[in-house]
Symmetry: C2
Subunit: 242 residues, 2 copies
DNA sequence: ACCAATTTGTCCGTATGTATG
DNA sequence: TCATACATACGGACAAATTGG
């Protein structure tokens, strides 16, 4: 007679159970944003496991952005920050050897729309900040500084668009795209082209010219591609360097 | 005479040094995708720290997607999977209480462009899969099944677009957007509308009609909004329910 | 500003189940 | 089958830092 067959049980490690349990409580809203977590010893007691296992579970939560150490060392419940999530995505894209063309196509899809919503929703304070950004770029000495200000300009637009889905969709792309497109170009002529484009975009936004702001941004992004091609680099190779 | 001032040294925990060190080697390419990691004991020896600290560092790597347990238990270097990264983004958006309007605006920006590139680059095999998907939806019995197939249809289009930046930008949005837009609608009439839309999109793609496929998808996404509004739910409230 | 209790970070040793050769 | 190596988990310990009087 045959033996009863049992599927193998892949037992979940205790430290992952700890993680799952606390994650579930956060997702369910039973643990809220600023809440303090019990001490490791107390958690170990409550779960009925060793403190080392609790600590390993906490590391998982830590890397997920679900807990943070504030001033001292006490653990506090948190909600993953957009910046961190975006940089994770960015890192993943880089590791998967994304090409300039992929980034460019994505930017061409997203940035103009972002600009359009920005034109609809921007405040006058935010317009001031954009103006200051352009002025600073006018005086910028190094290529790195220009790239920095460029990223900031586009980020500010995204903020003004009041859409966190778009913010989170574009940020990782922008983080790779703009440095790649820029750091390669010879400094002087490019810088002026960027400034001119930003000025045109800002002017369209100030005039609440929805269609105009969208199409100026599209042209600006197109310009990126031309600049990149002029460097002789292939758009279909993984991004160069770091 | 004044005392020399020193900035406080915020000493980095050993487990984080372990994480940083291994992460750096992966990012630098010294550790590659399938490579086996040394055993915990050996790592502890090499770093000159205790094995417990090594284990905590490994948990950080694990949650980042940089290491994986394959068949046995031996740790293997990995590259974060898109699926995992996307679901992290999705979770973050949900926790930040993103609204239906934000998701809709983002989808309206991205999905039509994705469809456009799909029309340019899709293979005949992929077209077959799309056709099968539509047939299955025709026979689908439950609302959940329809939503499942809908998400799959859009995912397949994204794959066909051959752009990983767009794939990673849209996936987290789609993961929230489509279930939210659909699960609420009464089943019968909606299902037919979706199928008709998908048919029209597929037909445009088959005819390599770039502009047509893009605009059909745009109409399809617009339709989502109308359906959602008809439920009486506010577009500017956080997503309902789960 | 000081003290006492608590807590984290780190270490050590050991037991057990399992995977590999 | 057996032996070895390894990951998981447990227990206990202690110094340094933090917390709360």
């Amino acid at each position: 007679m045959g033996e009863q067959k049992f599927d193998k049980i892949d037992s979940v490690p205790v430290y992952r159970l700890v993680y799952d349990s606390i994650e579930r409580q956060i997702l369910a809203g039973q643990l809220r944003n600023g809440d303090l977590l019990p001490t490791e010893t107390r958690l170990a007691e409550q779960f009925g496991v060793n403190r080392s296992s609790v600590r390993e579970g906490i590391r998982l939560l830590e890397q997920s952005g679900f807990v943070e150490r504030k001033t001292g060392k006490r653990l506090q419940v948190a909600i993953p920050h957009f910046v961190d999530v975006a940089s994770d995505v960015s890192r993943a894209l880089k590791l998967h050897k994304v090409t300039f063309r992929e980034l460019w196509e994505a930017s061409l899809a997203i940035e103009p729309v972002v600009t359009r919503y920005a034109a609809e929703r921007i405040t006058s304070d935010e317009i001031q900040e954009l103006r200051r950004n352009i002025e600073q770029m006018d005086k910028a000495a190094s290529v790195n500084r220009v790239v920095e200000l460029d990223i900031e300009f586009h980020n500010m637009l995204a903020q003004a668009a009041r859409n966190r889905a778009l913010i989170l969709a574009r940020e990782p792309i922008s983080l790779l795209f703009m440095p790649a497109g820029r750091a390669i170009l010879p400094k002087l002529k490019t810088q002026q082209r960027i400034i001119d484009a930003h000025r045109a975009i800002l002017q369209a936004i100030e005039g609440r010219d929805i269609a105009g702001s969208e199409s100026w941004m599209a042209r600006h992004i197109e310009d990126f591609r031309r600049g990149y091609e002029r460097t002789g680099l292939s758009m279909d190779e993984p991004l160069p360097n770091a």
